[in-house]
Subunit: 265 residues, 2 copies
């Protein structure tokens, strides 16, 4: 039986985010879409899974070529639900996003959008996370749609290496100003937090997490990194590993192994 | 001024978990300890951060060489709070755990314990996550303590490469049966979920996340992987990268870049 490809679409901004609808529109060009997300935004949930409270799932719409579910879980919960319970078919492609805001550099570690893509990769489903560098809820996804379509088509046709997904970030500029796609490494950077301390009406202190991104790359912003590409008008594409082994550091750690083995044998 | 090293201790099982106390005991041998965790367990929270609710922090005890905080946030929130608000000194070492249960193979992606260590590494603090392969709340941490001390001393003296932390898993067998430490790669495996569907008293369906680990490595379990080492009586030590770039896949993706650049220039 010849079937349309099945595309799983998810995000971490919730089912009613503009970026979700933009992504579904592109995904429908390639096949049947099953979309799952939460009612509420789940930004910053990373690869969290829900084990302490029951998961609730609701089918909110079903029409030819598009089925939408909402659930109370994290992005990774939603992906697991589709893989294991909600769909009889294994998706041919997982698209996550389009995130409202950047997931470049170390932001990939905190991102629910990218965790959903990584969960796809762990399950050997070709998976891509897309983010637009704008937090505007009414952001214009016109340029994004062009690149989402191009990268998705490429991956649907050629696949991805097992265990690897893509982190695609799109600058918030008009499409005619975008210079194309750059294949990049993750820029070396971190979030410097500045917890804002307040006092509640009961006199108890509390904190809000705030912060700003600090790029450790050299002056030019680190040619070849996603941060550099985005600052220079490119769409950045970083292949992301779900095998976190730092292979380059294995040799350096060997002294610890030898010492120990010597002691015990 | 010559100061004792400052050791940040955290976990994802909560401040009152046996593994936390075992880890604090070892850490105190090396210097002053600041410990932070939650009241409730935070397993499976991965690298999640709290942005929708305020963070509450409580100093629960302070004695010479040991300060303990509890907070309502995730393990990564706790680490960020110490780095940015609760401690005037930058920690010299971050120890996370000892987790009740394995964090080998792809479990590293879901683990709050390992996310805390990764957050340390992103901030260039030498960081180690420890896990014992037993979910027993009254597990015996005697053997674990030996290896925690050995690995921690090594890292405190020699440091770790920037951006890299260690994932150390300890088999739940008596110390005299442990064969030593093996430097390993992350085994190729995934969690196959079997959502358990139930109906609540109001007639509405809900799911509990359950699952089992599936190892994709070859028959012998993949010599050189953490799963293999643990099954064969070794402590596994995997250096973990916070730069998730799949460098080996950059070349393969280049065709996407060329096509696009050709189109736009």
């Amino acid at each position: 039986m010849n079937q349309n490809p099945l595309i799983l679409v998810t995000n971490d901004d919730g089912m009613y985010a503009g970026g979700m609808n933009a992504l579904i529109s592109v995904a429908r060009k390639f096949g049947d879409v099953v979309a799952i997300s939460s009612h509420e935004p789940m930004s910053g949930m990373s690869h969290a899974i829900t084990i302490k409270v029951p998961l609730r799932v609701k089918l909110i719409s079903k029409e030819p070529g598009l089925t939408r579910y909402v659930c109370n879980g994290t992005p990774v919960d939603g992906v697991k639900l589709v893989f294991n319970s909600l769909s009889e078919r294994k998706p041919d492609l997982l698209l996550s996003g389009i995130n409202h805001g950047s997931n470049s550099s170390s932001s990939v570690l905190y991102s629910g959008t990218m965790a959903a893509a990584m969960e796809g990769a762990v399950n050997h489903i070709p998976s891509i996370g897309f983010s637009l560098l704008s937090f505007d809820p009414d952001a214009d996804f016109t340029a994004s749609a062009i690149y989402v379509e191009e990268v998705s088509r490429h991956v649907l046709e050629k696949g991805l290496p097992d265990g690897i997904c893509l982190n695609v970030n799109i600058p918030a500029i008009p499409s005619e100003q975008i210079k194309g796609i750059k294949i990049c490494s993750q820029a070396n950077g971190y979030w410097k937090e500045e917890f804002e301390k307040r006092t509640d009406p009961n006199g108890t202190e509390y904190y809000w997490l705030t912060g700003f991104f600090h790029n450790r790359e050299p002056e030019n912003g680190g040619t070849g990194t996603d941060e550099w590409a985005l600052k220079n008008g490119f769409v950045s594409l970083v292949p992301i590993n779900t095998d976190l082994t730092a292979y380059g550091a294995l040799e350096r750690m060997k002294s610890l192994e030898s010492a120990q083995t010597g002691k015990h044998e």
